[in-house]
């Protein structure tokens, strides 16, 4: 901030800079619209969600506008629900796989960018920016077409290259291959941002450090793990937290490809909330799951903000 530096204040002089006019009510007036926008459309829904998680909220209750408080019943129901306990670990596992792959591939790409000639570097960056810019929903729609069982180009490539006899392989018909497709959609969309961030970090590492280590006989591996990685740790920390948050709340990628199928095999938290709430009108239970998910993600965000503040110091 470029606030003017006030002269040292002695007890007798008024603590107001002479040139500036007193703001009075103006700043509050300026904040009114933003406050309304944020309060009425965010704070209220959050409160509503928390309240609903303690209420019985079936369609009938909502139509007759009867509010029935049920205490912790919804939480008890969710926490003893077998489906929830398959969906939760699945979501976490999915996020873990996506985040690890994203960071691994992004590191590789960043190192490629660092060591390539200018023309190759520009080509790769442009390629990544194109993938990054592609909206999530389009990524999902296009991958569904790439993996199409009959005319998808992936099946054709795999068959032609002799990797498998996949002429009519239905990727979304089997739980694990459906997962593979989902992971590839997420990772394809997530790597560019991570790779470009890591690359930007690599540029700030003084080349003399690596040079000195090389003189002392350190190999490329050693240099990366002992010099580069420790310097980039803050970037990795932030990328990890952000990616975990993003990959935990996937909805469009799943809904536009598998709809949670086959046989509910790829249902993750976001889809589960949708199915419970919008599809089967159990708004109380759905809100409870949403509250649990929010608490989980807020915890992660908290780590993120703390890391940011530590770095800012």
């Amino acid at each position: 901030m470029t606030a003017t530096i006030a002269p040292p204040v002695t007890p007798s002089s008024p603590p107001v800079a002479p040139v500036r006019r007193r703001p009075g009510a103006l700043p509050y007036l300026l904040l009114i619209p933003a406050t309304i926008a944020v309060f009425a459309t965010l704070i209220y829904p959050v409160g509503r969600m928390v309240a609903l998680s303690f209420q019985r909220g079936n369609l009938g209750d909502l139509i007759t506008r009867r509010t029935v408080w049920v205490g912790l019943d919804n939480y008890r129901a969710v926490l003893t629900d077998g489906v929830f306990w398959t969906v939760l670990p699945r979501t976490i596992g999915f996020a873990a796989v996506c985040v690890s792959l994203t960071l691994l591939i992004a590191t590789g790409c960043a190192l490629l960018l660092q060591h390539a000639d200018r023309w190759a570097r520009v080509t790769l960056s442009v390629g990544m920016v194109v993938a990054w810019a592609t909206p999530v929903l389009i990524g999902a729609v296009v991958f569904k077409w790439l993996f199409d069982a009959e005319f998808g180009v992936v099946n054709w490539l795999l068959t032609e290259s002799g990797l498998c006899e996949c002429r009519h392989r239905s990727w979304l018909g089997d739980q694990w291959s459906a997962f593979a497709v989902l992971v590839s959609i997420v990772v394809w969309g997530a790597v560019p941002f991570a790779a470009l961030s890591i690359y930007a970090g690599l540029l700030t590492v003084p080349p003399e450090l690596a040079e000195a280590a090389r003189m002392d006989g350190a190999g490329a591996h050693r240099i990366f793990w002992s010099i580069t990685f420790p310097l980039l740790r803050p970037i990795y920390a932030i990328l990890t937290v952000l990616s975990v948050i993003w990959d935990t709340k996937v909805f469009p990628q799943v809904w536009l490809t598998t709809k949670g199928g086959p046989y509910q095999g790829t249902v993750m938290l976001g889809v589960y909330i949708y199915q419970k709430g919008i599809v089967s009108s159990q708004f109380g239970v759905a809100s409870t799951i949403a509250v649990l998910m929010t608490v989980m993600l807020l915890g992660l965000s908290w780590i993120y903000v703390r890391a940011m503040r530590q770095e800012a110091r």
């Binding site: 904040l31 790769l124 390629g127 929903l137 180009v153 993600l297 800012a312």
Partner: protein
């Protein structure tokens, strides 16, 4: 092959992997139907066929969806930027009680995962009879865009020396004139960047649009695009043609602001 040549080749291969899905979308859009379902697949759309675009552009549903998307996006970006600019000026130019609290609230609000909130939004809009209406969707989008827009703009406003406005004030300019003649032209690039960010966010949003807009007449483009999937046989030609038209402005806008996105991120992460 030298090491450098190896690295360069790897770069090209990886770049191809990233671009291929987008290329495949575009090339499918420009291929005749027979080539879309051919074995082996055709990798170059030749001769270029504009039939799918013709079919999309001849569909009344597409124009309705485009109108919905444009209405929502333009309204939200304009109103949101205005509201956020007012807040940003208040936060960056005045000291007043509650300022720190408001800034903190802006950060916390951005951490709430939107994917968890569609149930209360759904109920709120249903009770106010806005479910399925674009107005309801716009309100929801405002709540998403205003916090981050205000947050970004606050930084832009704060980076402009306050002395300029004070000099104008000394020369007899009113507060409004100081803002409009001095501050506003200097913040304009920041306004452009944040508007583009909110444009991309609103234009491509899927989840809320899907949950809150149940009236086919009001479908915005993302829902129109997904409506191809429900059919027995996905009609990939027209679907990829719409996807192409939908993605084009996003990529163009994105290229304008992506430098800022990476730079901001890494500056915060490395140096702070």
């Amino acid at each position: 092959m030298t090491r450098r040549a190896l690295v360069n080749t790897a770069c090209l291969l990886v770049a191809a992997l990233f671009v291929f899905p987008v290329y495949w979308m575009a090339s499918t859009a420009f291929k005749p139907d027979a080539d879309i379902v051919s074995h082996p697949p055709r990798f170059v759309p030749w001769p270029i066929e504009l039939d799918h675009f013709g079919r999309v552009l001849g569909d009344a549903g597409f124009w309705a969806a485009l109108r919905s998307s444009l209405t929502v996006t333009v309204t939200v970006v304009t109103a949101g930027t205005l509201v956020a600019l007012m807040a940003a000026v208040a936060l960056a130019r005045f000291t007043f009680r509650g300022r720190t609290g408001f800034v903190l609230a802006l950060i916390i609000v951005q951490m709430i995962p939107g994917e968890a909130l569609f149930i209360p939004f759904y109920l709120m809009l249903r009770e106010t009879h806005l479910l399925g209406q674009l107005a309801g969707l716009m309100l929801v989008y405002l709540s998403i865009t205003v916090p981050f827009t205000a947050w970004m703009l606050r930084g832009f406003v704060a980076s402009i020396p306050v002395d300029l406005e004070e000099a104008a004030a000394v020369d007899g300019a009113s507060r409004w004139q100081a803002f409009w003649r001095v501050l506003f032209p200097l913040v304009a690039p920041g306004l452009l960047a944040t508007s583009i960010f909110s444009f991309i966010t609103v234009w491509t949003e899927f989840t809320y649009a899907y949950v809150l807009i149940n009236d086919p007449r009001n479908y915005p483009l993302p829902i129109y695009i997904q409506s191809f999937i429900g059919r027995d046989d996905v009609d990939y030609g027209p679907q990829m043609a719409v996807a192409f038209l939908f993605t084009l402005p996003v990529v163009v806008f994105f290229l304008l602001v992506q430098r800022r996105a990476v730079a901001g991120m890494s500056a915060g992460a490395v140096k702070g």
